[in-house]
């Protein structure tokens, strides 16, 4: 690369960083104050683009029209954020941690279908910014004038936010709440108003980030999820709640991407390295590196003693093996009574149930939330597929060895993860999952690349769907029973104890990390078993099994059923899978319907379905005679 190219790629990176910074700053603000992992933040960004597109058409392609459209779109998105906060999130602030994630996930589904309904399926290419459509020549190379403007907007917004946060009473409250949420309550501040206003500002930033992209990027329906992942990465790399950190991280990631592209293909020591392919995963590599070295991000500070506004986790009731046995008998009888498809759907549900129970084990009782649990599910599935197809092992052997492979990955990933806590830990699990995904996705000759592995069918004696149903029931049932058993063993109690009070655990001689690491390996192996059973039931395996979407599904299942109960994840897996199957068949706008159903559950049962039903049952028993 010549000096001129390096300079231009640097500018490209800075321009790309601008919008990323705006979105991430908004996310960081909202998370800092409300502790809500706002999945819908990317959707707000997407609405910003769509809104700007429509408003520019209405207001005209003049400089005045363009800029008023951009600002108006940002404000409207801010109002949408307020709506989400007031109508939904405000009702569930006291729900268990992360439950709000479920609500915002539902909002994503609804907004996506609304956008499809309003703006249609076709990508909408916006106009260039009036007066800034041309390019500027720098060292003989051309760069769009608008990019230079974006590069300037980043620091301007950063400065404005800094002034807002340091020079106003509102800013002082936001900073106080970011450090200690309970303090705000103690100061006698109207928490609801503070949260609503923070949501407004955060959403305006997301909307502005989106609207400013309209000359650079067509409005399309994929933006929401592609942006949210990046925004989370930037927020975490910068340090949660740190606006300056978000700015720094956005620049690092934007510039790193631009240079991966600029460097292109390089031959080092006879090996060809295609740097442009790294753009698929570079932000996650950076995040993993940063978190390993700085467990609280670049400019983040260790959170003050985590006194969360939610109540401590309630005690866990031991499973009733009698009820489990009744279920088992019923499930064994299903193929005798129901049609063939019921067994197929149930086979899926078994796999997801084990997947969800293993995720619940680590995020509920062990208190370590994983955003990348699909890594183990997918790697188990791939291990099964590759051992079967490439190593030529019998299917039965592949099925037995696959969980061990997934567990082996968990040994490595877990070692790093247990050194962190809270959202940082969760994001590191996500980073590992994405790194795994990108390797599987790219390694065409071994993993089949983006297509995956095919012909992964069970042995002849298991090929019949009913037989395979029993195999899945046996494997997943045994896996779940094992996890439950372990949960009530001394080992399981250590994990719960460590979640409740790491300080006390250390003070009675427990080396918590070792236990947590072992827990990672255990759930990794069992998620791998779920993946392997799934792979052989489908006959193929593709990278989507390791994707963020798969990890998210797991979280949704656990939260939907109720993170504080043992059977919740199973109920969540069953209901989520069944609902998607059923709703997708019946309506065209099935995503919105799914979203609305989840929202209804969220608002009616803030403890999740099983948790809610248990509470109802308890109230029924204690009713005045």
């Amino acid at each position: 690369m010549t000096f001129a190219s390096i300079l231009i790629q640097l500018l490209n990176g800075l321009a790309a960083a601008a919008s990323l910074f705006l979105v991430s700053a908004g996310l960081s603000l909202i998370f800092g104050v409300t502790r809500i992992v706002n999945f819908a933040h990317g959707s707000l960004y997407m609405l910003g683009l769509y809104g700007a597109y429509t408003l520019i058409q209405a207001l005209g392609r003049t400089p005045l029209g363009f800029w008023s459209a951009v600002l108006l779109a940002a404000l409207l998105v801010g109002l949408a954020g307020v709506l989400i906060e007031v109508l939904i999130l405000r009702r569930i602030y006291r729900a268990p941690e992360l439950f709000q994630l479920l609500a915002t996930f539902a909002v994503v589904l609804v907004i996506k279908d609304i956008a499809l309904f309003v703006w249609g399926a076709e990508d909408l290419v916006g106009p260039r910014a009036p007066g800034l459509g041309m390019a500027v020549e720098i060292l003989g190379k051309r760069i769009p004038a608008y990019d230079l403007l974006l590069i300037a907007i980043g620091p301007v917004v950063l400065a404005a936010l800094w002034l807002l946060l340091t020079r106003t009473r509102w800013g002082a409250l936001v900073r106080a709440a970011t450090q200690d949420r309970e303090m705000v309550g103690a100061l006698g501040v109207d928490q609801a108003k503070l949260f609503t206003s923070v949501f407004f500002v955060g959403s305006v930033l997301a909307g502005l980030g989106g609207a400013l992209q309209i000359p650079r990027e067509p409005a399309n329906l994929e933006l929401d999820l592609s942006v949210i992942a990046d925004a989370f990465v930037v927020t975490v790399v910068g340090g949660l709640g740190s606006i300056g950190g978000a700015f720094l991280a956005a620049i690092i990631i934007g510039v790193a991407k631009a240079f991966c592209i600029g460097i292109g293909t390089v031959t080092w020591f006879g090996t060809e390295i295609v740097f442009s392919k790294l753009t698929l995963v570079v932000e996650f590599l950076i995040m993993a590196l940063v978190l390993v070295v700085r467990p609280y991000g670049l400019l983040g500070r260790p959170q003050a003693a985590q006194r969360i506004a939610t109540d401590p986790a309630p005690p866990l009731t031991a499973p009733s093996w009698k009820i489990a046995a009744i279920w088992l008998v019923l499930l064994v009888a299903v193929p005798l009574a129901a049609d063939r498809y019921v067994t197929i759907l149930l086979t899926d549900i078994f796999c997801f149930a084990l997947f969800a129970v293993s995720l619940h084990f680590i995020m509920g009782p062990a208190g370590m939330v994983s955003f990348g649990h699909a890594a183990y599910f997918g790697l188990g599935a791939y291990a099964a597929g590759l051992l079967f197809k490439r190593a030529g092992l019998p299917m039965e052997a592949a099925l037995v060895l696959a969980p061990l492979c997934a567990g082996a990955f968990a040994v490595v990933y877990g070692w790093f993860c247990v050194r962190l806590s809270g959202v940082y830990l969760a994001m590191l699990t996500l980073a590992f999952a994405q790194i795994s995904w990108s390797i599987v996705f790219q390694w065409d000759s071994f993993t089949g690349g983006s297509n995956g592995v095919f012909g992964v069918w069970p042995s002849a004696w298991l090929a019949d769907k009913t037989t395979y149903y029993y195999l899945a029931l046996a494997c997943c049932g045994a896996g779940i029973a094992l996890l439950w058993r372990v949960l009530f063993s001394p080992f399981g109690f250590v994990l719960r104890a460590g979640r409740d009070s790491p300080l006390r655990a250390e003070a009675i001689g427990i080396d918590l990390r070792g236990f947590q690491w072992a827990a990672f390996v255990l759930v990794g192996a069992l998620a791998g078993l779920a993946g392997a059973v799934y792979a052989f039931s489908k006959g193929s395996i593709s990278p989507s099994a390791i994707s963020i979407a798969q990890s998210t599904d797991g979280l949704i299942m656990v939260l939907l059923g109720g993170v504080e109960t043992l059977t919740g994840p199973i109920a969540g897996a069953a209901i989520f899978t069944w609902l998607r199957d059923e709703v997708a068949r019946r309506t065209e706008f099935w995503r919105a319907v799914m979203g609305l159903v989840i929202l209804a559950i969220v608002l009616l049962f803030p403890q999740g379905l099983v948790g809610g039903l248990k509470a109802l049952a308890a109230r029924w028993r204690e009713r005045p005679a």
Binding site: F488, A497, E506, I508
Partner: protein, 249 residues
């Protein structure tokens, strides 16, 4: 003092430019109740956290039964026979009172690594015995998350006793309790300490508790020890009076 259970020599800790603890030396013997007092920010908690391994001192020596324990993790220090209670109670909120104590007993016996046996079947009687001693047996089946603050302090005490400690570190053991409760808890602790020959080091704000329960008192101000001795000696010390009555502040 060769018979000391805990011996601290020249302990130093600075945060940035601030000397939080400077050249602190003292010792506690078996069966002795030593109170560490001082105004807010005097360095008591920093001192405590260095004794149990949560903080590493810049320099200085901490000996337990003659063995240097600087640099050990809290869990390792516990295994050498140090129990502790916290200023803000730290118990396992989702477990029952009995299970909390059993956790400590299992840990002491090195039996926590079992994956398949059922927790809670062993050490039930021992746990109940400890709970009896702190007066919590009647609440053994309740979840810690729902207990009153004073009761949590008792549970902590029971847990701290589970490994038959040589030394008990109690950071503000009566903070947040009603005055009557405070004396009761400290009498309990003192009684157990003497009976079992445990050395006790505690910090305390309530001077009534300190003067009625401590065998000896040491006074910390701005990171330095300014006085030490029996309650009577300390009460009479002008430097202490100055610190507490605000003479020099």
């Amino acid at each position: 003092m060769s018979g000391a259970v805990l011996q601290v020599e020249g302990l130093h800790k600075a945060f940035g430019g601030v000397q939080a603890v400077a050249d602190v030396s003292f010792a506690v013997s078996a069966g002795e109740m030593l109170a560490l007092v001082g105004p807010n920010g005097a360095g008591k908690s920093t001192c405590f956290n260095m004794l149990n391994g949560q903080l590493a001192p810049d320099h200085g020596i901490v000996r337990l039964d003659g063995r240097d324990i600087v640099g050990l993790r809290p869990s390792a220090i516990w295994r050498l026979g140090v129990g502790r209670t916290f200023q803000i109670t730290a118990t396992f909120a989702s477990l029952s009172v009995r299970e909390n104590v059993q956790m400590a007993l299992y840990s002491h016996a090195g039996r926590l690594r079992s994956l398949l046996s059922r927790f809670g079947t062993a050490y039930r009687a021992e746990a109940d015995g400890l709970l009896q001693q702190v007066g919590m047996l009647d609440q053994a089946d309740r979840t810690c998350g729902v207990l009153a603050y004073g009761d949590l302090k008792r549970v902590e005490l029971a847990m701290a006793l589970a490994n038959q400690p040589r030394l008990l570190l109690m950071d503000e053991p009566t903070a947040g309790m009603a005055p009557r409760e405070r004396v009761a808890l400290m009498e309990l602790a003192a009684g157990l300490a003497r009976k079992r020959a445990i050395a006790v080091l505690f910090t305390e704000h309530d001077m009534d508790v300190v003067f009625s329960q401590a065998d000896r008192i040491i006074v910390l101000d701005r990171g330095q020890l300014i006085a030490g001795g029996t309650p009577e000696e300390v009460r009479a010390n002008p430097a202490v009076r100055a610190v507490y009555l605000g003479g020099t502040h």
